[in-house]
């Protein structure tokens, strides 16, 4: 037995760096405490307001911190956690995602019979996990962030457990989530065994500082890390769970899953690949390209086969993950060194831009689905909720909402003058710069294929009334045929926010492009 020296010196804690997480966790605990101490059940709007305020405070804190030390990142807890432009930009995104999810959920909680304080606390706890993932500079901290995000999400879906579909969705997500976490953890163990460290910068420094033979332990570890994170971001072939889970989960939670949870997974992927094991990029770059190919193709092809709008959006979210992977894999891997300042940074920043833009489009789209789900359910209680045929004549009943949904869908398809266009253009250009034309060509073809899936929904909404069977007849449908009547205001606000971001970034992408670029260039390597 080797002697283990135990000399514990407590690491210095920079509380100001950790403020975003403290706000999120503090609000979650406070809300739970207040809910259990209150003499009667807290009204729903209290939880919603607290959640929105917390999300906004997190985003604002991160923005202030970025302003303070954006170009000179800080780290704390013995380098286990860093606060650089990358983590702060994603923290702002998480804050915005929490705000939008809370707005959408406010009107939907009753329908799913979910308790507002529990929902809000779990949402905030999962957001704290996402923020930790974005700034983790240690594989174990990354794992803890991943688990707090995931475990909170399992329960968030299961809260709607009165519905069989939600129970099934939660169970599937749990089993595959736990499975992938185990893979991720085994990857950490092997990387630790090979390099003697779990610190991302430490691993990176060790690998660059040593000339070694091929290390199969390390390669196996990297492969396992890729499998674990591949599950989390739903990259093909690790995507089986995504359509089922997205379909069965309550729509507001699905929006959160598709945007923030996915963004956090990609943030973790970026840190692991570019900070820790960049030196081995010759080994992992081909895998990443293969994942990008498969994810693009399967996502787009399966999306056009779906007759359920929610499921179609789930597959389209897989295809969007493929586009993000295109940007990730466009980092030049020629010398085994990530050429961060010459092209590599641009490639990853195009992915970050894509993630941010896509998050808003996904949150907005699933917000629309949440509103539509409520209407279809109230007019016709059997719940095969989002069949494409039920969207017939939707533009007639809800012209404004249908227009907003159309904008969001067209943006996802990548139509010019929407944010989605610049996002797709960015990753494809980065891929063209990096290597050949095969991957960009495939990306463009799949963009066209998935555009067909979005246009099908748009056409169904604007189809003449006669083509849909459940239109016009029932008195409830006639009563709800008014522009704004009984639309939940909070959801409308969230949807307008998403549409506004999509259109404004589509017309003026420069600011967000610069932010993503600054974020990537200031990443702690």
């Amino acid at each position: 037995m080797a002697q283990v020296e135990i000399a514990f010196d407590a690491p210095a804690v920079d509380w100001w760096v950790l403020t975003p997480q403290i706000i999120l966790v503090g609000a979650a605990l406070g809300l739970l405490l207040a809910a259990s101490l209150a003499p009667r059940a807290l009204p729903g709007w209290v939880s919603t307001i607290v959640t929105i305020a917390t999300g906004a405070a997190t985003a604002i804190t991160a923005a202030v911190q970025w302003n303070d030390w954006g170009s000179a990142p800080r780290s704390t807890l013995k380098d286990a956690f860093v606060s650089d432009g990358f983590s702060l930009l994603l923290t702002v995104l998480v804050g915005a995602g929490v705000v939008m999810t809370a707005l959408v959920a406010h009107s939907a909680l009753d329908r799913y019979e979910m308790a507002p304080p529990e929902f809000a606390a779990l949402l905030l706890a999962s957001a704290a996990g996402a923020v930790v993932m974005a700034g983790a500079n240690d594989l174990i901290v990354l794992f803890l962030g991943l688990e707090s995000l995931s475990i909170a999400l399992y329960v968030l879906i299961a809260l709607a457990g009165r519905r069989a579909s939600a129970r099934e969705s939660a169970m599937k997500y749990f089993v595959l989530g736990a499975f992938s976490s185990a893979f991720f953890l085994y990857g950490i163990a092997l990387v630790y065994g090979s390099t003697g460290s779990t610190n991302l910068s430490g691993i990176g420094g060790f690998l660059f500082g040593s000339i070694r033979e091929t290390d199969y332990l390390l390669l196996a570890g990297i492969a396992l890390l890729l499998v674990g994170l591949g599950f989390k971001v739903a990259a093909v072939p690790f995507h089986f769970w995504a359509p089922d889970v997205y379909e069965g989960a309550p729509s507001p939670v699905t929006g959160y899953l598709a945007s923030i949870a996915k963004a956090a997974g990609f943030a973790a992927l970026a840190r692991v690949l570019y900070v820790a094991v960049a030196e081995q990029s010759i080994a992992w770059a081909p895998i990443l390209i293969g994942l990008a190919f498969a994810t693009l193709a399967v996502g787009a092809v399966m999306a056009i086969c779906q007759n359920d709008v929610k499921r179609m959006l789930a597959y389209s979210s897989i295809s969007h993950a493929g586009f993000v992977l295109v940007g990730f894999s466009a980092v030049p891997a020629t010398s085994g060194l990530v050429q961060w300042t010459e092209g590599g940074g641009d490639a990853v920043s195009s992915s970050v831009f894509y993630l941010i833009v896509y998050s808003f489009m996904a949150l907005g789209s699933f917000a629309v689905l949440s509103v539509v789900g409520a209407e279809l359910q109230s007019s016709e209680p059997d719940a095969s909720a989002h069949a494409l045929s039920r969207y017939g004549g939707f533009a007639r009943r809800r012209p404004v909402l249908a227009l907003a949904f159309t904008v969001l869908l067209l943006a996802q398809a990548g139509v010019p003058f929407t944010a989605g266009f610049w996002a797709k253009l960015g990753v494809i250009l980065a891929a063209v710069d990096a290597r050949g034309y095969v991957l960009p060509a495939v990306a463009m073809v799949t963009a066209v294929v998935s555009a067909f899936a979005y246009l099908r929904v748009v056409l169904a909404m604007y189809a003449p009334e006669g083509s849909s069977e459940d239109e016009g007849g029932t008195p409830t449908a006639r009563a709800s045929r008014q522009r704004w009547g009984n639309l939940p205001l909070t959801s409308v606000f969230a949807i307008s926010l998403a549409v506004a971001v999509t259109v404004v970034v589509g017309v003026l992408p420069q600011t967000l492009l610069e932010w993503s670029r600054d974020a990537i260039l200031s990443i702690v390597l």
């Binding site: 080797a2 794992f143 169970m171 749990f174 163990a189």
Partner: protein, 104 residues
């Protein structure tokens, strides 16, 4: 010392085997409770690997990792058992094959 010299490699092999048994069990078995146990088996295989590496390096870090993993595994089991109970309460004797309403 007589007989076999038990080196780090042995522990790593045992850890890998536990991980594989757990992983295979998760994919093969249909009882939700057994699947939960298989997840635990996978995590404990990883824990064993961590301890073996930490012991070889003489590094306390690997040992502390195991404590974190234990806590996470406990949290996961709490949620997992809750889910299993919710599923079984709705339909007693359910197996993973019964959870297949969502497809397409």
């Amino acid at each position: 010392m007589s007989g076999l010299d038990v080196t780090t490699g042995w522990y790593l092999t045992l850890g890998a085997m536990l991980f594989l048994i757990g992983g295979t069990g998760l994919l093969v078995r249909r009882n939700p409770l057994i699947m939960l146990m298989c997840v635990e088996l996978m995590l404990n295989g990883v824990n064993l690997s961590f301890i073996a590496f930490a012991d070889r390096f003489g590094d306390v870090h690997g040992h502390t990792v195991v404590l974190f993993v234990l806590v996470v595994a406990a949290a996961e089991v709490v949620v997992g058992l809750g889910l299993v109970v919710a599923v079984l309460r709705a339909s007693p004797r359910a197996t993973a094959d019964d959870l297949s309403a969502l497809k397409g």
